[in-house]
């Protein structure tokens, strides 16, 4: 999956099996937990990834962020971040049907 240039509006992303995304009160940040490690996420990364639920498509995530942060043209940034997250193996395209 990593080879296919990967995400378009219809893609439904989900977290790869070994990653867990959650809010950490002690860090006051969203984090990704995985075997032997933890990545502390910045504010915008947390806002994007908290909308990754295996149901919402990329298009729907962009739209939801647009509504939450009106006035910002964030499409390009969101797409770039999701592509990076995909390349790093954090998220994958859910097989539908």
């Amino acid at each position: 999956m990593a080879e296919r240039a990967a995400l378009d509006d219809a893609t439904v992303p989900e977290f790869a099996r070994q990653y867990r995304f959650q809010w950490e009160p002690a860090q006051q940040a969203h984090v990704l937990l995985f075997p032997e490690g933890m990545i502390k996420l910045g504010g915008s990364a947390g806002e994007i990834l908290k909308r990754v639920d295996g149901k919402a498509s990329v298009g729907a995530i962009v739209e939801a962020l647009r509504q939450a942060f009106p006035g910002a043209d964030l499409r390009a940034d969101v797409m770039q971040f999701l592509e990076e997250a995909h390349a790093k193996g954090w998220i994958r395209a859910k097989h539908l049907g």
């Binding site: 070994q18 002690a26 937990l33 032997e36």
Partner: protein, 380 residues
């Protein structure tokens, strides 16, 4: 314990909680890092004790939880702890030899929410695996690896490396690939506990280490991101010490089977620190205020050459336990560092391992533990 992708905390809370739930183990590995005098310890913590420790650790901010030992599967209440850990929001890891992991138990862990499993092998061959652990466990471990994948678990395959198996790195990696492990830890032996007792028989040569690293890098190039490989370097061959535990009392917290809270799993043998028990104290007080956890925080305790060294913020002077083990003084620089005045003791250890004396290798078992509890070990 410093791993790719992990970030040190800035908030002063522990990130890692290692629960050494028992020191009982069906295996007798010659390189075990468990304390050699484990047979002298008091009663194991109860289920209730562990659940309290898990809650308090999570309140402090710990996010990664390892169930270790000994063999943690010896505890028949592990399922209860696993379920509580998931409820509390830990990312939990079962660190196991595989012995005792059957269909029923793994299904229980899955239901309780265990996140991943780290399975140890001693070698890629049955002969050496079974010799080094003094058990017939190789075939069983292979079955357990299958079981782990059947239950759709991410698997970390761990193999401790030393002179007798380090030349098999390529075969070990191929075995891991065939088992579809997501992560492989090639953990060169760290010389503590039983491994320290057997050091002369376990230390590889520098040439072996170089070849193993080359083989690992070749394999990495071929396999790409499908399998991540951690090659934990043997620090005796380094010029600088490891940033042990990312610093004393910085991110790491171990609870021993009998209830002591430690900044690392070796620290209980350091003299004069009187580590507190979770039976008597709250983890918050232990982490923030107990004298043991504050003993080597910061750099006020350092001697030269560490005190004025620009690298002290990077490696914290190395490992306190190794400094004690090799020099008898935990406040000295880790002798692994080439700037340490004690560095020659490491060179001497490497030299003597080239012509090891004809003494038997000591297996980790109760009889040897009782024997070693009477004889002080250490000081190189």
């Amino acid at each position: 314990m410093q791993k790719a992708g992990s970030v040190p905390s800035t908030s002063g809370s522990p990130l890692w909680l290692l629960a050494e739930v028992t020191y009982k183990c069906p295996l007798h590995c010659v390189f075990c890092y468990n304390p050699v005098d484990y047979t002298t310890y008091g009663e194991e913590l109860s289920t209730e004790d562990w659940l309290r420790v898990l809650r308090q650790g999570r309140e402090l901010g710990a996010a990664q939880l390892g169930f270790s030992g000994g063999e943690p599967l010896v505890r028949d209440d592990l399922e209860i702890m696993v379920a509580e850990a998931r409820k509390l929001g830990y990312y939990s890891n079962l660190i196991t030899s595989g012995v005792g992991l059957n269909e029923k138990r793994i299904a229980g862990f899955k239901e309780g929410g265990l996140d991943h499993i780290q399975l140890s092998f001693q070698d890629s061959t049955r002969e050496l695996n079974d010799f080094l652990s003094s058990t017939r466990t190789f075939d069983l471990k292979r079955k357990v690896a299958k079981l782990i994948k059947q239950h759709d678990y991410p698997m970390v395959l761990n193999c401790v490396l030393h002179r007798h198996n380090i030349d098999h790195v390529e075969q070990i990696l191929e075995m891991a690939e065939a088992m579809e492990a997501e992560y492989v830890e090639l953990a060169n032996t760290q010389y503590y506990g039983w491994a320290f007792v057997n050091r002369e028989q376990l230390l590889p040569t520098r040439e072996q280490v170089v070849r193993a690293e080359e083989a690992t890098n070749r394999f990495r190039q071929r396999i790409g991101t499908k399998m991540r490989i951690f090659f934990v370097v043997p620090d005796y061959f380094e010029e600088r010490p490891k940033a042990c535990m990312n610093g004393w009392g910085a991110v790491f917290l171990t609870i021993t089977a009998d209830g002591l809270a430690l900044p690392c799993h070796e620290a209980r043998r350091l003299p004069g620190l009187n580590f507190p028990s979770v039976r008597d104290h709250d983890l918050g007080w232990i982490w923030r205020d107990s004298p043991g956890f504050n003993a080597y925080r910061g750099d006020a305790w350092m001697q030269e050459p560490c005190r004025s060294c620009p690298e002290k913020t990077k490696d914290f002077g190395g490992c306190r336990c190794q400094a004690f083990l090799l020099t008898g003084d935990a406040t000295r620089a880790d002798p692994v560092c080439s700037l340490s005045p004690d560095h020659p003791v490491v060179a001497a250890a490497l030299q003597s391992a080239r012509q090891p004396a004809a003494k038997p290798i000591l297996f980790r078992d109760d009889a040897n533990s009782r024997l070693l509890s009477k004889v002080p070990t250490g000081h190189g």
